[in-house]
Symmetry: C2
Subunit: 224 residues, 2 copies
Amino acid sequence: MAKDMFLLWGSGSPPCWRVMIALEEKNLQGYQHKLLSFEKGEHKSKEVLDINPRGQLPAFRHGTNVVNESFAACMYLENQFKSQGNSLIPSDPAEQALVYQRSFEALNLHQKMVDLITYTRRTPEEERHEEAVKRNKEGATAELQIWESHLQKTGPYLAGKNFSMADVVFFPTLALGFRLGLSQKKYPKLGGYHDLLKNRPSIKASWPTHWLQNPPTMDPLKDL
Amino acid sequence: MAKDMFLLWGSGSPPCWRVMIALEEKNLQGYQHKLLSFEKGEHKSKEVLDINPRGQLPAFRHGTNVVNESFAACMYLENQFKSQGNSLIPSDPAEQALVYQRSFEALNLHQKMVDLITYTRRTPEEERHEEAVKRNKEGATAELQIWESHLQKTGPYLAGKNFSMADVVFFPTLALGFRLGLSQKKYPKLGGYHDLLKNRPSIKASWPTHWLQNPPTMDPLKDL
């Protein structure tokens, strides 16, 4: 069933990982895929551009239907395979409201982490300011505290007692955070959540390949 | 039916406007609402914080279900009132794929316009760089060209022949762009799209109140 699906992905990219978790949750193992290297610039190759003109990963195709935006691909898979695998959007109105709210809210953490991690790469040296880095760190810390408080109220999963789309969208960013030095001691609820989810079959099966092979080489988030 | 819904909103805010268009499209007129002023800082008032701890607008509640992220609220309304008003997510797989793709892709234009418009407000004077403004302008221009090309291929609406969630998410940002000086001559497809949609009943009924009363006072996007 998943043989007509094709995913181009990069290892450790939270958007790619989201789609891979959703594919696992919907029992869509056996899809075609190809691992590309961001470092070698392969996300700008013709193979990617033919599917995703933005030159970004993931690039995802189901038959002739192309859905490259990662959260969009997850929503598409959930809807097209509603009764297959695990339901990621509950039908109960109160549960559904919370799942949508947390799923979209998760994009805030992702953006703040990306702003922080990519600041040096994005900003020419002569335009860099210590104060801007400090503000980015404060923004990311405040955001992490919001999620620590969310989990306090509605754990063990992000939207309550069941795994949902919110976890699909959020977990890869958080796992990248811990890989990059985030302290489990400072964020005990997020640490416990990470430990609960890391052994979930869909997440274990899609764990970034180069993380399994290599220890982290930097910890830019250690003082958040 | 919509009497158990409550929206706190700010005039001209694309996220607020999205929710208001979705409410109109789903025939949910008659909801309770209150217009707040960003300039007076009312989005940080207790009234907002009680519903949306992030102190942002919109703040939206349906009964006891709270959904503040604007796109999340639109998805929730579409799902809870699937057979009421206009369908915003088609069931045909190819159409659905394109609607999801364009809906989420629209967040890129929104982010790039916000980065550009709020640069001066966000960045302390001693950290501002002309080169950064130039890069932001180039980023927004490239993004607008992507959408010009999308409409060339799949108009008249953003995801083809029918109005959809993609238009709900995208239109308010584009309308803000034209209000702030964007040239219809340079972006004729986007201009035509804007003219097609501005008289749609859901959009006309929710048009920002202060835009109707006051002409624009600045045109920061005129040279994009």
